[in-house]
Point group: C2
């Protein structure tokens, strides 16, 4: 048996990627399974990531003229049934509310007060928001109408995985309405571009942008655009989608307006969403065998300061120095945490590593005497350890965080490129996955009509991920996916 | 028939207060009823108020060491049943999820996939969060644990009113756990004080703070503290509550920890919440017969600029001036809106009035020539109209907004004081409400044990509102309430 290097996470990514993923979440204290079937509890350290994402993306959509609002959690059955493809897409995974009170029965509490019409807990809100749009939109002057809500949604899942696939998740769902088909298509593409910019600039995720094939479209859409990422095990993750709904929902719900020429027209609508699933993606792209690596711009803590003290004397020296440094960082708008817990320094150090805090600063009595700090970058590890004068560090720390971001994004981009392969026949696809290759294969879209394709897709549980814009829609990416 | 002054809202407050309330919400475009029984749609202008409240209060609780997290929407029936008083309090108003998919039946879609154990949509989360606390708390070192979530909750209501009482509403629910009874009581009082400060400093609502009588306590609490406001029709509104849950939930759920002396103890917990109901309170305290008056610190728009133009020439002059002024305001962190809609100026003016925008600035060609602006305060109306040099206005505008806040708070305080009366017997209460007096009556707590009290309370549909701290718990406030 060969001696393995010690890692903070067991198993390693190479040994068992799915189990490594669960253990990273546990070690970083981000989320856990709940006693409610398929639902997760997002713990404070995980939720803080979502709050940072929300704050940043909310600013982006407000700049794009989108207004936030709030629509009911429950959707009448008759609403969800309005768009035929839509209801087919969601009927199998709807939580249904059928009663409105509880009564004491023989075996304890039982549902009572049966509803005349049951409701589903929203799996998505096209139909209920469309119903409002139909009332709010009268004339072309009311268009465009751009609405968004940050909320919880529920899709009953049989096999769940924290963040990636849970029965309840948090997301934003945008719902826009336009005068023309061109406006809607342009908007759907614009929101996809917003997602690409958001995940690259803030989560350091490099993604493909492209259109979904017909069978992977959102139920009821005429086109679905997607950002797709590759995880470290070579599987794809759909990280955000933007749908051009054409007039499908407008016609089935009755979203009509008086056009500039006086005629009555149906609106053209779009919808677009990103969710807490992105946190799962961040973990599977950035994490290593020592745990999470947080992209600095959404990291709950960007810098952790570890005061290294032996006795009361060194404490009296180190703590005020650490507090002053933290105050200077906060003044620059950085999220910093001074870890003063009564705990061994190596334990604190490993905790910071597992939580993926981008920059770790260690201060001992010697550092105070010399007016210096020692820091380590999480993305580069021990090799990046440096001791520098405190003034120099303060001057450089924002640049260091930017460098960490840039490095993580560059890594994610190379990984994506290195794990995307080209093929030209169905046999190429078969060969690629027969070798258990990690990654996606890109083939001509003409293969979609090849009768042998379906069998190979089933054989390896593959799906089409998108037709990348970069290839002018001439190629299609195929692979395994989360 | 006497000639009435024209008001923007029909009916007036004096004519029909409940209908006036609905019409103010409609005129300000804040919310509307949805096709889902008892649920509201919060429209962008109303939702922006909630976003401002969230941002401010979230900062306050984070400063108090509270961490945000997210717990499941659904609660197993067995959980809600754990605390006997608690389930009694909520069983009559629970939305119950019994199925997890839909099937096509003879009459269309029907619920299918019956769940073994039904779930209720959370009416509040003590039981499900308590279940996590029981796992997360092991030792006194894990205490205090302070958690909060911003979320939707559902309590099935038969008679609903926008913002004030709806089947679904948005709120924050804080759940804290402590080592000792004293710590928990202190925390419950501290969070109540946070609510008082929050609503006075930001919503300009003057409130009573006090303890609820036993029969008005939160189901399962040992003490409920409340902030109570008086609406312009003299009815009370419970605006926020903080509960000392003692060890009731800890014992029924099993939230135990190893104490400093090595013994095993049950934790002492608290919970505390404010909701979108506060928006209803703001309307009923501040609004007038011309519509809403927004407290400046949570107003979606603090200042509206109306460019007054007759032709293209004046437009070319006025619009750049207005935009430059708006940019200067934004730079100071103010929320400003330039109303450039193609609409008559008086219509825009009335729209700003009905929406309650605190400060309205009008700019015509003459103002541009003279380097002046004309402004009107919404709280004081036409009488406050002033034309001043633009530099002076820029220098003063933040102070003016503060003055508006102070004036609204002072009004709310005088109104509350002027509508609180003293009594000493049950007959005093009878006399007070027989005269259809608007307001609350404060009587000695000893009357609570008077056998004649119940009859009088029923006769006028009264309830005890609180035992104000200001009276050292020796008095109890009684009145009608929302």
């Amino acid at each position: 048996m060969s001696k393995q290097p010690r890692t903070a996470i067991t198993p390693t990514r190479a040994d068992d990627f799915p189990e490594w993923y669960q253990q990273v979440i546990k070690a970083a204290d981000m989320a856990e399974n709940s006693p409610v079937r398929g639902c997760m509890i997002i713990k404070p350290y995980g939720f803080a990531v979502w709050e940072n994402m929300q704050r940043i993306f909310d600013g982006m959509i407000k700049d794009a003229g989108v207004q936030n609002a709030y629509f009911p959690l429950l959707i009448p059955l008759s609403f969800i049934a309005r768009e035929a493809e839509h209801v087919d897409g969601f009927a199998k995974e709807c939580a249904v509310v059928t009663h409105h009170r509880l009564e004491s029965g023989e075996d304890g509490l039982v549902p009572a007060g049966k509803l005349e019409e049951p409701y589903v807990v929203r799996p998505t809100s096209e139909t209920i928001i469309g119903d409002s749009m139909a009332r709010w939109i009268q004339s072309y002057r009311d268009l465009p109408l751009k609405l968004n809500q940050w909320c919880n949604v529920m899709r009953w899942e049989m096999r769940t995985r924290l963040f990636l696939r849970t029965s309840e998740f948090l997301w934003q769902e945008g719902h826009n309405a336009f005068e023309t088909a061109e406006d809607a298509r342009e908007d759907a593409l614009k929101m996809l571009e917003a997602y690409r910019a958001f995940v690259e600039d803030n989560l350091a995720l490099s993604v493909f942008t492209g259109e979904k094939t017909a069978d992977e479209r959102f139920p009821g859409a005429i086109a679905t655009y997607t950002i797709e990422a590759i995880m470290q095990d070579g599987k794809a993750l759909q990280a955000g989608t933007s749908h051009d709904l054409g007039q499908n929902f407008a016609k089935s719900i009755g979203i009509k307006f008086q056009a500039r020429d006086g005629s009555e027209q149906f609106a053209h609508t779009t919808s677009w969403g990103i969710s807490t699933r992105l946190i799962g993606g961040m973990i599977m792209i950035h994490g290593d065998d020592d745990g999470m690596i947080m992209p600095p711009r959404v990291a709950p803590q960007q810098i952790v300061i570890l005061p290294v003290t032996k006795d009361e004397e060194s404490e009296a020296k180190v703590l005020p120095f650490a507090d002053k440094l933290a105050a200077q960082m906060k003044q620059k708008g950085l999220r910093v945490h001074v870890d003063k817990r009564e705990m061994r320094t190596p334990d604190k150090m490993w905790d910071a590593v597992k939580k993926g805090i981008p920059l770790r600063v260690e201060i001992g009595a010697r550092e105070v005497d010399d007016g210096e700090v020692t820091f380590v970058r999480r993305d580069l590890g021990k090799a990046s350890k440096e001791t520098v004068p405190v003034e120099l560090f303060i001057e450089r720390m924002e640049r260091i965080l930017d460098n960490i971001h840039d490095n993580m994004l560059a890594r994610s981009k190379s990984f994506r490129e290195d794990h995307t392969f080209n093929g030209s026949t169905v046999t190429d696809i078969d060969d690629f996955f027969a070798k258990e290759s990690a990654g996606l294969i890109k083939v001509p879209v003409s293969l979609l009509s090849d009768p042998k394709l379906e069998e190979i897709m089933k054989k390896y549980a593959l799906s089409t991920r998108c037709m990348p814009f970069a290839d002018n829609g001439e190629k299609v990416l195929i692979g395994k996916a989360y």
